[in-house]
């Protein structure tokens, strides 16, 4: 008899969005990885099939929802499907890119079915590789990078005789471990106390919008509640656009040096940049909440087990404009460190507690900005392939559950890429341009004069 498991908190986060937005599209994740080289597709197919055996999360499936809408997960023993090969080499790269973007929009509907599709590709301009389309409940971006690297290592081992990749951790064992930790009553009580204490200390959070205070005012009118502190989320028009900005290597080095010299993490510096911008455009509002994604991968096993371990927690900052830039950064770091210690907690329970205490209306939120900082480069890390030209790209699933989702990662030349995913129903490219521009102004003003207060920086930028 097959073993079934409940979803983890991270998986439940995605499942909750699927139910809330009535489409699996919000849980799609897609990537293409290719090399400018001839590939032995017969061998690549064997490697993909072997990878499916090695990386247990690829075989994860979900049961039909029960009467309460809850589902369970199980790992299929094998996946005998063929791996298709598609030839897009007759297209331009732009056309192939457009087609792959369409594939990323495809939903994986139904139960008891594979939630991972891998397609081998002949691409234009001599590139060859594969396209992976999965459900986020199976894997997060770190897990996908591990997958791509492991697959390429298998290929180069069989093709060129390089070392066989090291064993990956057993997905099922790590999943069982996670569920056991979540069921630890003492740990649960400590985590709950921490999150409840935050509400005891600061009361109900207050919404802040990228476009300013008018959004909260609108929500107050709509709900006929002048003291409402949350704003509505978009449920119907989920279309998303992506705007990328690259910060060159030289200024990036400046940010890194500041972090190193002051023992700060980049995530906290970025959170400070975003929250200061939000404060500036919301009439100096001091209470700002940003949702920050944490990739819960710390041990060796967690790094190589695959699975969906990324989860978001609210980073609430209440910073007076009299606070100097460096102290504000430390304030954020202090609270973030404590959040990390309690990151086994299910964030859905934080919002359940908030609703219970403050009777917040359904489908409202306190945050307009969501941040993911990815220090792990999205590239094939393989000495056999290091001199080959690569083309890899993440594709948006086209349906945003979040108003603005910023992913910060490193570029190949050690600059930083700021990728803004924004709901077109409410935001425009101009809004993203302003956000990026002021974020940079705030950050560089702050790191060059860390004694300036937040109020002074907001006035000067």
């Amino acid at each position: 008899m097959r073993k079934e498991y409940p979803l983890t908190a991270a998986q439940n986060m995605h499942y909750k969005w699927i139910k809330q937005y009535h489409t699996q599209q919000v849980s799609g994740v897609s990537i293409v990885a290719s090399l400018k080289a001839e590939l032995d597709f017969g061998l690549l197919k064997k490697c993909i099939q072997l990878e499916t055996e090695r990386y247990g999360c690829l075989r994860l499936r979900f049961t039909k929802p029960d009467e309460e809408g809850n589902i369970k997960q199980y790992i299929a023993g094998s996946d005998p499907r063929d791996i298709p090969l598609k030839d897009l080499s007759g297209m331009t790269l732009a056309e192939a890119d457009h087609l792959m973007q369409q594939w990323a929009y495809v939903t994986m509907d139904g139960d008891d079915r594979p939630m991972c599709d891998i397609t081998m590709l002949k691409l234009p301009e001599g590139f060859n590789g594969f396209f992976i389309h999965m459900d986020h409940r199976l894997i997060d971006s770190c897990g996908l990078v591990v997958l791509v690297n492991d697959l390429m290592q298998l290929y180069t081992h069989f093709r060129f005789g390089s070392d066989y990749p090291a064993d990956l951790a057993d997905f099922e064992e790590v999943l069982e471990d996670d569920l056991k930790k979540a069921a630890n009553e003492k740990r649960f009580a400590k985590d709950k106390k921490f999150w409840d204490d935050q509400l005891d200390l600061r009361g109900e959070p207050l919404y802040s919008d990228i476009k300013g205070s008018s959004v909260l005012e609108e929500a107050r009118k709509k709900h006929n509640d002048p003291s409402l502190r949350a704003a509505d989320i978009e449920l119907d028009d989920l279309f998303v656009k992506v705007k990328d900005y690259v910060l060159e290597p030289e200024p990036t080095r400046g940010l890194i040096a500041f972090c190193m010299n002051h023992q700060l993490s980049m995530t906290n510096l970025l959170l400070l940049g975003i929250r200061t911008y939000l404060s500036k455009v919301n009439n100096g509002q001091e209470d700002i909440t940003i949702e920050n994604f944490i990739s819960r991968r710390s041990t060796h096993k967690e790094w190589t087990s695959g699975g969906s371990r990324t989860i978001m927690f609210p980073c609430r900052t209440v910073i007076s404009p009299d606070t100097d830039f460096l102290s504000a950064a430390y304030e954020i770091q202090n609270i973030q460190n404590k959040i990390y210690m309690h990151s086994n907690y299910d964030p859905a329970l934080i919002y359940e507690e908030i609703r219970k205490r403050y009777h917040t209306p359904e489908n409202t939120t306190y945050a307009s900005c969501y941040l993911t900082y990815q220090p792990m480069p999205v590239r094939v890390d393989n000495p056999v392939l290091e001199n080959m030209q690569m083309f890899s790209k993440w594709y948006s699933n086209g349906a945003a559950t979040k108003k603005m989702y910023l992913t910060v990662s490193f570029t190949r030349d050690q600059g930083m890429n700021f990728s803004y995913h924004y709901q077109t129903a409410h935001l425009t490219e101009k809004d993203m341009e302003l956000l990026y521009y002021y974020m940079m102004r705030v950050l560089f003003k702050g790191i060059s004069e860390p004694d300036l207060t937040i109020g002074e920086i907001m006035a000067q930028v």
Binding site: K186, K190, S265, S298, T299, Q333, Y340, M341, S343
Partner: protein, 78 residues
Amino acid sequence: MAKVDEFKELVSQYCDVAAEDITDDMRFRDDLGFTSLSFMTFLGELEDLLDVELDQDKVLEVHTVGEALEMLETIKGE
């Protein structure tokens, strides 16, 4: 001492150093490669493993393996 062994065994799960090679003067971040996230996650797991309660502000002042062991000794003595 069993708890020291347990402690070092747990540390080794988070870094590339074997438990027997972990020494008191090693710094979590610089020598063992811990990030803020992995260090705080480690401390949470340590609490569960040794059934102790760590002071969330004091743990932020811990930098080396020796300091962490000293903190645990103090908690045990309280």
